[in-house]
Symmetry: C2
Subunit: 273 residues, 2 copies
């Protein structure tokens, strides 16, 4: 049993899967991806992930070479081959092999199964520490492969004893490098609605939150985050994870009843997903 990879109609072990050096994803950063995981052996929110992947491809002007049905059958084959009950699945779509490092002929589609690296229980208790950095992702609404900023900031993040970066610009926050941000103030939940990638877990948590709290999708000032009762982030791997420090400042109170409630509801739902 091992992880496998689909590349343009062929499935092989991840170990044996290579791409040619003329790929435009490698040479020109012309690539996008998506990532989801399974619970109880079944892709979580598959319809939503597929919709986003397909939309990213359109926005990036990359033809999507696979149908939803075919993609689903590949995903299920990879899960079976992994021998794991649950795993992560990464889609990567690039501009494909180019004769002159510029001209696009046809895209390359990779679908890869991966180990899941879940957040530890103790991290949910301790919360996340992040640094802040002035920047808006280029084409934030596309899940492109562009993580230059995060990679360049890695040593700053480590030196600060943090694990991620909160992007802000002109006094407004947007997102962490790979997840969305929510704040709670006086039992009202708010989350940015522009200059972000619309996370699937964000969408899921918004539905859950709206059924139980007042929720505002609007621009959120960095200052509001620093003064919030609770700050938390949502992502496929993090689910609902508190943020407890930004740079050198502690944020949020000890009472994290809203994020705890949302995480518990999500975990409860996932048991029978």
């Amino acid at each position: 049993m091992a992880h496998h990879c689909y590349l343009n109609n062929k499935i092989d072990s991840v170990e044996n899967t290579n791409i040619h050096i003329t790929d435009l994803g490698l040479l020109r950063g012309y690539g996008l991806f998506d990532y989801f995981r399974t619970y109880n052996g079944r892709p979580f929110q598959w319809d939503w992930y597929w919709e986003r992947f397909d939309r990213s491809a359109k926005l990036m002007k990359l033809p999507n070479p696979i149908s939803k049905e075919k993609a689903y059958s590949v995903v299920m084959a990879l899960i079976e081959k992994s021998g794991l009950e649950d795993c992560g699945i990464r889609f990567v779509l690039t501009g494909g092999y180019s004769p002159d490092a510029m001209k696009m002929i046809e895209p390359n589609l990779l679908i890869i199964s991966e180990d899941i690296h879940p957040v530890k229980e103790s991290e949910y208790e301790a919360g996340m520490k992040v640094i802040s950095h002035e920047y808006v992702r280029d084409y934030p609404e596309i899940k492109s492969t562009d993580y230059k900023h995060l990679m360049i900031l890695q040593s700053d993040i480590r030196e600060a004893g943090a694990t991620d970066v909160l992007f802000h610009k002109d006094g407004k926050i947007s997102e962490l490098s790979r997840s969305n941000v929510f704040i709670v103030k006086n039992n009202v939940i708010a989350t940015p609605d522009t200059q972000i990638l619309r996370g699937i877990t964000r969408r899921y948590i918004l539905e859950l939150a709206k059924a139980n709290f007042k929720v505002e999708e609007r621009s959120v000032a960095l200052q509001e985050v620093l003064e919030a009762d609770e700050v938390f982030t949502t992502s496929t791997t993090k689910k609902v994870l508190p943020i407890t420090r930004i740079d050198n400042q502690l944020v949020g109170s000890e009472n994290r009843s809203v994020s705890k409630f949302l995480l518990e509801e999500m975990n409860h739902h996932l048991k029978t997903w």
Copy 2:
């Protein structure tokens, strides 16, 4: 005789060179490159290109895994293997193979020989047509592999009968997608000095220009470009190429004495390089 590629201490044919799908250049856009060509079998301005490649690597926090001397010997071996008198050479440096699509272990360095695609004589006569687009490259001073904007704009460029895009922001121009921009007004040459990649041909032409004209490195307004006597671009493959249309507007006059002079001087110099 065929083009070859150096990858981490091994040279093979380009055809047979692949990278593993866990490369961070592919998965996270964590990569940079450089490109130069030879004249008379000898790399043009090798010292300057090496200096820029090494600087890009430092700014991108990627360790440069090769010494200048070793890199030069690889370049000369690739040229010899190509069987061509002159060819293009591409360096690509990525974050390397990652166990979790994030953590960096050691970089991958590719050095590839390629065919040259020189600009045709008729194109120097007709000049280039470009579209304008409001955007500043992310980390413009790094020669990163990030060409998302150009790739997404390709269809707009084609539909406009153009071949490239002029980036501008807040009324100031920066550069074309892969080359620098100069204007001439009343025999004074000006070129942007911030938010650009400092091209090697830009540097070379600046030296040549300063010996013969008044030259200003400063911010340049888009409006100035539209009203200039001459507009031209410089790059490794284009040398000194007039720009004659921006969107639907003709730019520059019929008299292109400055750009013609610079191109002729460069061509003259290249004969005995």
